[in-house]
Amino acid sequence: MKINRRTKTIGWLLLSAVFLITVTLWGCFWREEALITDFSRKNLPPCREYLFGTDFMGRDMFVRTIAGLSLSIRLGILTAAASAVFAGILGICGAVLGKAADSFVTFLIDLVMGIPHILLLILISYACGKGFFGVVVGITLTHWTSLARLLRGEVLQLKNSQYIQIASRLGMGKLQIAAKHMVCHLLPQFFTGLILLFPHAILHEASITFLGFGLSPEDAAMGVILSESMKYLATGKWWLALFPGGLLTITVLLFHVLGDSVCKLLDPGSAHE
């Protein structure tokens, strides 16, 4: 039997979805365990009992990594969703509500893109008094720009189509048209954009926490684990950074695969492949 590309794509989609869901649920389960310290087993290199080794406080790095990844994924979903909704509202408003609104939205997009993400995250995190809340607000407010730009372009194109113009001549209001005729066109774009936001959200959450602005040092978060590992690298404790970072990379990669697969499956142009 020959496997066509569509089946292969569905296979990848399922594989990454199963992995991500497993890690997320598993990590929720291990929240308490990730904090257990046991000084009789500190600084152990990876072995059969402790797959990823243990750190200077005798915490099992495998448990900590899974718990941290789970936290990252949940945070990523929350912030990506909030960011996408923000992008949707601004993108559509910019394109529908006339010229002044449009130039305001494009100005806002350029403004946010003009400050490097990490720097803006530092600023917003500072404004929110650092901590969990700062990370959520920061990532939400920095990641909407590219999706908003995409949706705006799409709406501008739709506005020139005949059925929208007819609807407008028939006396429908601008917002009414947007809600009734445009939203259903934009939904596929919106969802793929949303999924493609996940990897960025997760990466930036880990980065800002790594720098010390995000989640508190007690939390089992990826950024915390990696910034702690940095202090022990020079003394040869390579496993503290290699395994957690590697697993983080795999997670982000699988989110990319997930997004690409959904994108391919939703695109009618590739249905025959």
Binding site: P116, I124, Y126, W238
Partner: protein, 330 residues
Amino acid sequence: MKEKQIQKFLMGILRVALLIFGVSAAAFFLLAISPIDPLQSNVGQGALGAMSQEQVEKLKAYWGADTPMIQRFFTWAWDFVRGDMGVSLLYRRKVSEILWEKAAGSLGMMALAWLLSGGMGFFLGSLAGAKQGKWQDRLITGYSLLMASTPAFFLALLLLMVFSVWLKILPVGFSVPVGVEASQVSFADRAVHAILPAAALSLTGISNIALHTREKMIEVMESDYVLFARARGEDTRRIIRRHCLRNIALPAMTLQFASVSEIFGGSVLVEQVFSYPGLGQAAVNAGLGSDVPLLLGITVVTAVLVFGGNALANLLYGMIDPRIKRGDGI
């Protein structure tokens, strides 16, 4: 015709000025609404508690903590425009001085990474696009996807582990050797210290540029004029040189200038790993240490660099593209 171009140019400048004003205002108000008490974080909890109420009031008045936000912003902005960026609370020196010093430390490293990632990204992207579906393409897209998923700081950690801790051939951190007088530091020393940070930055930076260039290349390879060139009997090498590279040069240039912001963002993380004393590390220290003037200064200077880069790209676009030069518009 000429008049129109000048008008467009002026509008562009006005827009950039407005954007820079917007960035400074946004940054200023973000820092001003912070619940972090500037008095407490700069004087220290203990010292503040030991001071009398009068002293605290005096200090507050000295720093202008009670004047309204808008007034404070315009005072700051006016001073900034005249070149007075304020005094850093962390270093107790002028912000402009610190910015110069830090920029001199890391701009070279960033420029190296910027050129490397742009050049390599362009080369790999066009190679992958020209060989779409072949093993070269799969290798390059695979690499790009992997790098796009790797946090820059993790890659930096890996490089540090392999080259500094394990193989011991490159320094662990800092931009100059430890324990050597500043006047004794040679250019070679600086270069050796810049290798790993620049490598970490460019290895991750390549992926974005390569993927976009690849897409453009594929678009061009499927165009009618390439088909026609093939029909005339030109071989692939010649088609790529004469038709493809010229057409993807312009979008590649836009990408290259747009990546200024990414390189800077990455450098914040990478400098933290290598303890490299540059602008990025200064930004992190300023944020963690509540050094508002320094953080503001860094934000505005970066924004100027980013917008300046974009504006330069637009200008070059007009000079290089014969269609725009003739004024046809696209």
